[in-house]
């Protein structure tokens, strides 16, 4: 029976191995769980979860699997929140329909909501009954009614179900955004060690060899210490739609530019999309053409772009699409400039502060097909650093064909 729980855990992205599962079985054979649900919760968590960031996922999995064991635990699952986070376009409502929706009072609404939550089995968009988006059901996104009702159980208790339900560890999840130190640590992974510079470290092996060659007469040999040889080019989008993320980007910049981290570190700015030039300052005065930038950069340098990649499609796809038409771009579309940069560097990564659930159907998808793109969180940054150093796994590239179909709206992020 518990094997199912193992798979429940793995479904919640907890990478529990056979090794750990066997250890849990061993613990249970020894009776370490006190034959109680509480004991099992603690034992299982201690053996299977190795990071406080994953406690929350464990609590959720535990809730999902053992929900019938305790009281009627009714919790909004992340799935439902995810459906709501990704809305379909609201359809136009007639005044009669609006009047009908507004007719429900809050208590009635909540009651109905709980009832639907029990009955509903899957995502449902565009209808008039289930919890979903874009329909005329009172439950969901973008209507005249509250967009979501939290139905948590009583918190703060001591039983396993209640602990799991209280989800005390939610704030430790890794997909939250970062402070400077966390970024610093993530960037530490970005290194290529090599010996360079002044000779100041005792090389023991060479000393022994040389001493032997010297017939036992001591011959001390020194060598340069190991230093990071990684070179990084950082391109940052500033202004306009990036304003909400200015603080986050400045933290990233602070961490990345700390002296001595990289053998060479350069940073440039652009607005919305890169065209024929980037700028050394955020005020866009010191111009560096992309051609010059590429000529000066070695293929092995790491290119990191930070930006929301969100713009009007014409800015990306049309020749002369730049919002600074007279000064930038000429007839080459922005996407082509991006392609040229991505092609020059052996490894490049794009960090996007925009949560990935907002990517589909926007220009982000198009750019993600050119640059491997990660959401700017601890997890995303870690993934990007791993990719930059070792290569390998790129994030999933969306299909280009899908993009054209799903693009329906027109808006200007500026």
């Amino acid at each position: 029976m518990l094997i199912d729980f193992l798979y429940e855990l793995r479904r919640h992205k907890l990478h529990v191995s056979t090794h750990e599962w066997l250890a849990l079985m061993e613990a249970m054979a020894k009776g370490l769980h006190d034959s109680s649900l509480d004991g099992f919760y603690r034992t299982c968590r201690a053996l299977c979860v190795k990071d406080v960031a994953e406690y929350d996922a464990f609590d959720q999995a535990f809730l999902a699997y053992f929900k019938d064991v305790g009281a009627d635990a009714l919790a909004i699952t992340e799935d439902i929140l995810a459906w709501l986070a990704d809305p379909k376009r609201m359809r136009e409502l007639s005044p009669e329909e609006l009047a009908m929706i507004e007719g429900l009072d809050l208590d009635k609404l909540r009651e109905l909501f709980e009832q639907r939550l029990r009955e509903q089995k899957e995502r449902h968009d565009g209808g008039n009954r289930w919890i979903g988006t874009g329909g005329t059901s009172p439950f969901g996104h973008g209507g005249k009614h509250p967009t979501g009702l939290r139905v948590g159980g009583p918190g703060g208790g001591r039983s396993a179900m209640q602990i799991a339900e209280a989800r005390r560890f939610k704030e430790y999840r890794k997909d939250v955004v970062l402070d400077v130190r966390q970024i610093d640590l993530a960037l530490r992974g970005l290194r290529q060690l090599g010996r360079e510079g002044a000779v100041e470290e005792l090389d023991l092996d060479e000393t022994v060899d040389e001493t032997c060659r010297n017939a036992g007469e001591l011959e001390i040999v020194f060598r340069p210490p190991r230093r990071n040889r990684a070179k990084v080019v950082l391109l940052m989008d500033v202004g306009g739609s990036m304003d909400p993320y200015a603080e986050l980007c400045s933290r990233l910049f602070t961490a990345a530019s700390r002296s001595g981290r990289f053998a060479r570190f350069r940073s440039y700015y652009f607005h919305n999309c890169v065209y024929d030039a980037v700028y050394e300052d955020a005020a866009f005065r010191q111009k560096v053409t992309v051609a010059d930038l590429l000529a000066e950069s070695d293929r092995d340098e790491k290119l990191v772009v930070v930006g929301d990649a969100l713009m009007h499609p014409a800015e990306l796809l049309d020749g002369g699409g730049s919002i600074y038409f007279y000064s930038q771009g000429g007839r080459t579309p922005g996407l082509e400039w991006l392609r040229r940069m991505a092609a020059h560097f052996r490894r490049a990564a794009w960090l996007n502060p925009e949560p990935d659930r907002f990517w589909p159907g926007t220009t982000i998808e198009v750019i993600a097909s050119v640059f491997p793109m990660w959401h700017l969180t601890l997890e995303g940054l870690g993934g990007a650093v791993r990719y930059l150093v070792r290569g390998g796994e790129k994030p999933k590239v969306p299909e280009k064909a899908a993009w054209g179909r799903s693009w329906t709206g027109s808006y200007d992020p500026d």
Partner: protein
């Protein structure tokens, strides 16, 4: 690894609840459970948590409670995994060969056991504390996998194996500075020391200051949790700082109820100027 631990299942079962906290160390139920699971399964216990929540102290008290010796290994940024097992002092041997002190042929003389080597070669069971494992290089934990699994290591220079007579109880602490490798994590029992709630904190303070008056403790905790709840604080004060602070209050004979305008001895609680400024600003507002 499995053959070893499975075989031990047939042994006479020891009492599971071996660690209940001590007179000077109050542990939450969850922490006690994790410790006992680790001891029963003889797997390393990996502890994480905010600085000052008593990770290192736990090892000391666990050793006390189990009646075992404690061997400490404080990891530094330059520590190599092999240093913990043994160090071959080549420079001394070179020196001796050149200047002729002692018998250079006896390599064993130049092999010095590190803390982990000591723990494995001890003739009785010990508690081994590997403190702040995340301080060292990213690959450090990976280099200890075999040693922690099999509790044995090989001294290349002597061609000799050192095998632990009894598996030591291993406690590893980490400040969450670095990701630890999966292969390493898989072998550990993990516990995150959550910050104690008020009730538990009262018990903890009473252990360290048994003679404290209820009213003073109440006021102190009020101020303390108020400080911790301050948003945007860079380093929130922890348990050990609270205990130091109360100690300072007692020594100076300050009555919190009567002091107006600001918190006395703020320096024991807050450790960055930004935080001090932040608190001062809020106090004014």
């Amino acid at each position: 690894m499995f053959s070893g631990t499975l075989a031990s299942m047939s042994d006479e079962p020891e009492s599971f609840d071996q660690f209940r906290g001590t007179d000077t160390y109050i542990a939450s139920d969850e922490l006690r459970h994790a410790v006992n699971v680790a001891v029963a399964l003889s797997r390393p216990l990996l502890l994480r948590g905010e600085p000052g929540t008593g990770k290192t102290l736990l090892a000391e008290n666990l050793a006390g409670a189990l009646g075992l010796d404690l061997v400490r290994w404080h990891v530094k940024s330059t520590t190599k995994a092999r240093d913990g097992l043994y160090v071959y002092d080549t420079v001394a041997r070179l020196h001796d060969s050149r200047f002729g002190d002692g018998d250079v042929k006896d390599i064993a003389k130049y092999i010095k056991l590190g803390p982990m080597g000591e723990a494995l070669s001890a003739d009785h069971k010990v508690v081994l504390l590997i403190d702040e494992i995340d301080k060292a290089d990213i690959e450090f934990p990976n280099d200890l996998l075999l040693e922690l699994d099999a509790m044995r290591f090989h001294i290349d220079e002597l061609g000799k194996d050192v095998v632990a007579r009894e598996r030591p109880v291993v406690v590893i602490t980490s400040n969450n500075e670095k990701e630890l490798p999966d292969a390493f994590l898989r072998r550990c029992v993990f516990h995150y020391i959550d910050f104690p709630d008020r009730a538990l904190m009262e018990r903890i303070v009473r252990v360290h200051h048994p003679d404290i008056v209820d009213r003073v403790l109440d006021q102190a905790l009020e101020v303390f949790y108020g400080l911790r709840a301050t948003p945007r604080m860079r380093k929130r004060p922890s348990t050990s700082e609270l205990i130091d602070w109360i100690c300072a209050l007692k020594k100076a004979g300050v009555d919190l109820g009567r002091v107006g305008g600001g918190i006395p001895f703020l320096g024991t609680l807050l450790k960055t100027e930004q935080d001090v400024e932040l608190v001062a600003k809020r106090a004014k507002a």
